[in-house]
Symmetry: C2
Subunit: 362 residues, 2 copies
Amino acid sequence: MPHKSSISVADVTIIDFRVIDLRFPTSLDGVGSDDMHTFSNGRGSEVICLCLDIFAERVIGKSMADLNANMGKTWRYMVSDSQYRWIGPDESVTHLAAAGVPNAILKKAQVGKEERVQDALRNRAVPAYSTSQGGPLMRAMLSSNSKVGTDLEADCARLAAVRDILGYDNGYHIMIDANQFKPVYIEEQTNPDDVLGHESIQKALKLYGVGVATGEAVQNWVTFKQLLQAEATDVAQIEAVRLGSVNECLAVMVMAKAFGVPCAPQNGAIRLTELTSHLSLIDYIVVSGQRNTLEFAENKRNKKYLKYAAEVKDAHYVTPMQPGYRIGYNKGCVENFEFPGGEVWRSEEGKRMTGGDKIPKL
Amino acid sequence: MPHKSSISVADVTIIDFRVIDLRFPTSLDGVGSDDMHTFSNGRGSEVICLCLDIFAERVIGKSMADLNANMGKTWRYMVSDSQYRWIGPDESVTHLAAAGVPNAILKKAQVGKEERVQDALRNRAVPAYSTSQGGPLMRAMLSSNSKVGTDLEADCARLAAVRDILGYDNGYHIMIDANQFKPVYIEEQTNPDDVLGHESIQKALKLYGVGVATGEAVQNWVTFKQLLQAEATDVAQIEAVRLGSVNECLAVMVMAKAFGVPCAPQNGAIRLTELTSHLSLIDYIVVSGQRNTLEFAENKRNKKYLKYAAEVKDAHYVTPMQPGYRIGYNKGCVENFEFPGGEVWRSEEGKRMTGGDKIPKL
């Protein structure tokens, strides 16, 4: 028998997989409180799980050595099934070109890399801000037109109260006069696919010194390419779990660098932060060389279930030192949060929450 | 009991539904032979079926009177679940604006409508062409560079033979010199999301009198709006089963009319033709007022299973006179073609075809 230490990750062959639908009841903590995140993408997860079942099949029988030898090739392999491409060609054949782009530009970022690695080792690579605690960069928050508060939190509370009274599905609009507060930028002003629409808005707002930030609902690098090409956004807000893995995030980062636009991954309270802190670290060390501020939000109630929970110290992310791009769960997590069989979802409170999923009246 | 004739469609209430995965082995007939249609969207159908199960739930308990009273409202209702929107905001909130657009522009198309209705009644509304039989408009087909045939069919046969030898998945490219043949247009030159890319290609080809036609893989009206805005396409090739129902097809038709671009629905051999013939008819009578040629292709082997199969006479579509936007299947269709339990798919030939679905080597 070989000595134990001679077995490396490269020798591991994937022989099986299991897709688990884990759902954290984030609405209980009011984290991720915009209407698209209230339930952290609750309904719809069954569709994603089916797709994971299908795509995970493709790596059965492959070794980690095979898969890691050429990540670009692996990525092309994962997205190249022509029949699955038909149902959403966001991952279509021209997608492949992205993989080749980084190499050329990444060279430039070598200057000063050693210093930036040192910054990372002392947790000074990724500045953090939080909408709940304040931070080095105040996120652009809009204030209600009728009555304006004296600070950010009061404004947020007032807007939330107004929206709670009006309801989210009753067709009421809230008009906000944001201009007088000179926000740094305004997020997601129109349909995420509408590059030319964003371009018009960006040009119009620029006259008032207000920026445009978009990207969290952008499907792929092709749309990011156009947003940058048209100078339609001032920040590239990539969404780590929407773009096709680290590869596609890297492609967008490199393009953003080429266009002189900062890349700020969209963030969420639980499990997304754990991925984006890796991305911003990579961005700082080998892509932009710039410290791009990354939002921080945590789910205090359920943080204990994460093996490698993201942490912030002195307004900077603590550099993740574990290899790999994943979260890791502690014992009890699956038992509690698997949907719909986990303890949380079988409890009275859990039933009440999913009961709220009833289909509204036409 | 009320008299039988007093019960109308409006009284029907939807109490249940069943999603059936019907797959026709179109590869046997060589229809729909481009690589994205070889299997008529075979793999991937399970994902679509799951989504249909989810969305069909929303109409349970509703009457046809409710649903038809205001189709715009019904459409908004179908696409407005915020959590499902998260997994693909192609159907996002700004989508709704599309529903209001048609009314304003449709008025103009009233001039000469009565004559066009008469054209429809004598089957002269929708001119047809076919890539296999020739027709009034020859589709732009490219000829192989090395040896050029004397006619369309010979060119197609030669290209197909070259591709068969090279294989589809071995990384071989076929270089084609199309310019000398002055094609009317070239289809789908780059990623369907890439409006600015299409714009560059359109401008460059225009100098040579060659047009650009795109749209069959375009996700939604937002991207069509941009393609038209940027003058990036000379034909709006809507895909009836990709856009969100007749409503969204209408929105694109109206925009195409406003930009002076013909709308030619993408077509396929079985079941798609049955929908697009309705769309082109509507386009002629109340939207563009122009006879926009529609491709025709039929699956002779399986046509007998369709209750209202599209037909062409004298190079024009026979106007469909049955109300509704659907296909209708004859007895034996489900028994034969349901996947994977139908007779065709359980047969040796069927197993051989799906056996070809094996995952390729990395």
